[in-house]
C-alpha cells in the first residue's frame, strides 16, 4: 500500500531522514518503533504528505503522495500525537464537519457520523461538547474523526500516550477491528508492549534510518512461527520436523521447538498427528509471535555494533 523510496528530509539545522526505504503491506498493522529523535514523526508526516521531502518519494497505491496530495488525502487519515478537537462544537458537529471536509456525500453524512460514533463507543455522547470530554473520550472522538470517511490507510502517531490501561486495551481492540474491516494501519509508539497485541509488522528506525523491517505474524498462506512444547525431550524431533516440506528453520531446545510452518489448520493437524504417531509426546502447539521487545533490542544492538565497527 505504501512504498517509500530513497526518502530524505532536512530541517534547517539537520538532516532528519537518510535515504529511507520501506513498505507498508496492505491489510497490515505496522508498528513504527524507535527511540525519541529517530525520525518516526518526520517519516509519518512525509508519508501523509504534510512534510515535503528533500528528495525521494512516497507512493500510496502507486500514486505519488507529494505530486497528488489531495487525491491521497481523501483515502488516508492521520492522527497526530498532539491532536486537537474543536472544544466549542458538539461531538456530532465535530464528526459532521470532518465528514463534510472529506467530501462524504451530503445524504450519507448522518449515517457515517453515527457509524463512526458507534464504532468508537461514543454514540451516547453525540450531543456533548468536545471540550467537556475526558482525555480518553477525546482520543476516541479524534479517531472517529479520522475514520469517519472510511479511509484505506490510517496513521496514528503515539495513539496510546496519556491513556489509562483500560483505554489502551480498548484502543488495541479497536485497531484490530479496523484492520479486520479492511484498513491498513501504521502505528508509531515507543511503548512496545502495547503494540505487541495487535501489530503484524514492524519497522525499526534509528538516527533517521530504517534499520529493519519485518513481519511479526504472517497471514494466510505465508509461513507462521509455531512452537511445540513436549512432555519429554525427543531426540528425533528435529529430524522429523525437517523431513516435512511445510516446515523450515527448526530450532529445538530441550522440551521446546520453534519453527516456521507454511500451511493451513488441516496441515497443522496432520503434522501433529504424524509427530504423535512417531512417539513424540506433544503437550501443546501454538503460534509463536516474536517478542517485539526482544526483536527491537536485538536489532538496535546489531545496528550499534555495526556502527561501532565502522559498518554503517
Amino acid at each position: 500500500m505504501i512504498d517509500i523510496q530513497d526518502l530524505v528530509f532536512e530541517y534547517p539545522t539537520k538532516r532528519a531522514l537518510f535515504d529511507v526505504n520501506c513498505t507498508v503491506r496492505t491489510g497490515s498493522i505496522t508498528a513504527l518503533v524507535g527511540p525519541n529523535g529517530a525520525g518516526k514523526t518526520t517519516l509519518i508526516r512525509c508519508i501523509v504528505g504534510l512534510h515535503a521531502p528533500f528528495s525521494g518519494r512516497v507512493l500510496f497505491g502507486g500514486i505519488d503522495v507529494h505530486e497528488h496530495p489531495r487525491d491521497c488525502h481523501r483515502r488516508m487519515a492521520y492522527l497526530s500525537d498532539f491532536f486537537g478537537v474543536y472544544d466549542q462544537l458538539s461531538v456530532r458537529q465535530c464528526l459532521t464537519y470532518t465528514a463534510r471536509a472529506y467530501d462524504v456525500a451530503p445524504g450519507a453524512v448522518e449515517t457515517v457520523v453515527e457509524a463512526a460514533a458507534a464504532r468508537l463507543g461514543i454514540a451516547d455522547r453525540l450531543h456533548e461538547k468536545a471540550g467537556a470530554l475526558s482525555r480518553g473520550l477525546r482520543q476516541r472522538l479524534a479517531i472517529a474523526q479520522a475514520i469517519v470517511h472510511e479511509p484505506e490507510f490510517l496513521v496514528l502517531d503515539e495513539p496510546a500516550s496519556g491513556l489509562d490501561p483500560e483505554a489502551r486495551h480498548s484502543l488495541s481492540a479497536l485497531l484490530t477491528g479496523l484492520r479486520e474491516a479492511g484498513m491498513t494501519l501504521l502505528v508509531s509508539s515507543h511503548i512496545l508492549a502495547e503494540l505487541e497485541g495487535y501489530c503484524t509488522d514492524m519497522i525499526i528506525m534509528r538516527d533517521g534510518r530504517v534499520i529493519d523491517q519485518r513481519p511479526l505474524a504472517a497471514d494466510g498462506a505465508a509461513a507462521r512461527r509455531l512452537r511445540l512444547d513436549l512432555a519429554r525431550p525427543s531426540a528425533r524431533l528435529a529430524t522429523l520436523l525437517e523431513a516435512r516440506e511445510e516446515v523450515s528453520q527448526v530450532t529445538v531446545d530441550g522440551t521446546a521447538a520453534i519453527f516456521l510452518f507454511q500451511g493451513d489448520a488441516a496441515a497443522q493437524a496432520d503434522l501433529l498427528r504424524a509427530l504423535i504417531e512417531a512417539g513424540v509426546e506433544v503437550a501443546a502447539a501454538r503460534d509463536d509471535r516474536e517478542n517485539l521487545q526482544d526483536a527491537y533490542i536485538a536489532e538496535i544492538h546489531r545496528y550499534e555494533t555495526g556502527r561501532a565497527g565502522g559498518g554503517r
Partner: protein, 450 residues
Amino acid sequence: MRGNPEFIRNLWTEISFHRAVVMPAVTGMLFLLIWLINGQQTGAATAQAAALMFCAIAFVWGTRVASESVVQEINGRTWDTQRMSAIGPWTMAWGKLFGATVYIWYGALICLGLYWMSYVDVIPADRIVKLIGVYVLCAVIAHATGLLVSMQAIQKRRDFGRVQIAFYQFLGLAAAVPGLYIGLSGIADDGIYRVLLFYDRVYPLIDFMLVALAVFAAWALVGIWRLMRAELQMENGPWVWLGFVLFATGVAAGIRLLPPEVSAGMPAISSKAYHGFSMLLILTYMIALSEPKGPVLFRRLRRYVELSDWAGLVNAVPRIVPTLLLLALATVGLLRLSDARVQVLEWPVNFHLATVATFLLVLRDVGFIYLLNIARHSPRNDMTAFVYITLAWTVVPVTLSAMGLEPLTALFWPKWDSGAALTIGAPLAQVVVVYVLFWRVWLHKVASRR
C-alpha cells in the same frame, strides 16, 4: 447541508443564540445613547457614531480575528486535520476569511444599517452607498491582509503568541487605513466629488478608489489562496506573484500625485517610471523579508539544477529573484526616461547616479537578508534584518551627518550631489562584501552537505 464545510464550521463556532442577541443589543444601546445625546435626531453625529462602531468592530476586532484564524488552528493542533482534508485551497481560503469573521460582519452590518438610517435623509443615497462601499472593501482588505500575513508567517514558523498576532493585525490595519482615508476623502463635506489623474485621465476619486479597493481585495484573496495551496503541499509557480508585482507597479505608475500645472515645472523625471520604480522598491523589500528562505531551500535549488529539473527550479526559486530582475529593468527604464542631471529647487541633482546607487543599496539589503537567513537558524532573522536595514537608512546616516562625516553617508544613502566614485563606489563595495560573505556561508552551509 451543502456548502463550504469550513464556513459552516465557523458559523457553528462563532454564532450562538447568546452572541446573536448580544451584538444588536450592545450596538443598539450605544446608538440609542448617541441619538439621545444628539437631541433625539439622526444625522451626521449619529452616522459618525455608527461609523466609529463599524471601525471598532470590523477593523480592530475583525482584523484580529482574521489574523488568528489559521494561527488558532495551529495552536489548537487542528490544522493538520484540515490540511489533510479534501477541502480545496480556494474553499478553505474564503471559508476561513469570511467564516472566522462571520460574527464580525454580523455586527458590522448592523452598524452600517444604523449609518444608512442616520444619513438617508441628509445626503443622496448614491453617496451613502459609495461611502459604505469604501468601509466594506477596506474592512475586507484589512481582514484579508491580516490573514495573508499570518499565512505567510506560518511558512516560516509554527509557534505564535499574542505579540505575533498583534503584529499581523497591525499590518492588516496598515494596509487598509490609507485606502479608507483616501476613499472617504473622495467626497468633500460640501458634497463635491474630488478627482484623480490616472494615466492622464480624470476620474472621480471615490469611484477610482472603489474599483482599486475591490481589485486589491481580490488580489489579497488570491494571495491567501496561493498560500493555502502551499500549506496543502501544492506547488506554486512564481507567476501569480509576478502578475501582482506588474499590476501594482502599473497602478502606481499611472497615479499622478501632482497636478499637471505643477508637475510641468518639475525636473525632467518621468513621473510614471519614478512611481513604478518606487512601488517595485517597496515590493522588493516586502517579498525579501516575508518569503521563506534558508539553507534547505538553497540545497533544494541546487538539487533541481543537478537533476536538470527546470520546472521544479522555476517553481521553487525565491520570488525575490524575478522581482530583482524587474527592479533592474525598472532602473534601466527610469534612467532612459529621465535626464541625467536635474535641478530640484536650488539643488543640482545627479539623478542617474543616485538611481543606480539606490538599486545597489537595495541589492545590498536583499543580500544581507538572505545572508542572515542561511547563516543562522532563527525565526527572528527577518525581523533582525529589518531592524538593521531601518537603522542603516535612518539613524546611522543622520548621526554621521550630524557628526560632520557627510561623505560617509554615501554608505547608507544614495548621494544626489557627489561624483560617481563616492555615489556608486560606496554601495558597490558593500554589495561585493555582502555577496562574498553570502558565497562563503553558501560553501560552508549549503554546498558542503550532500
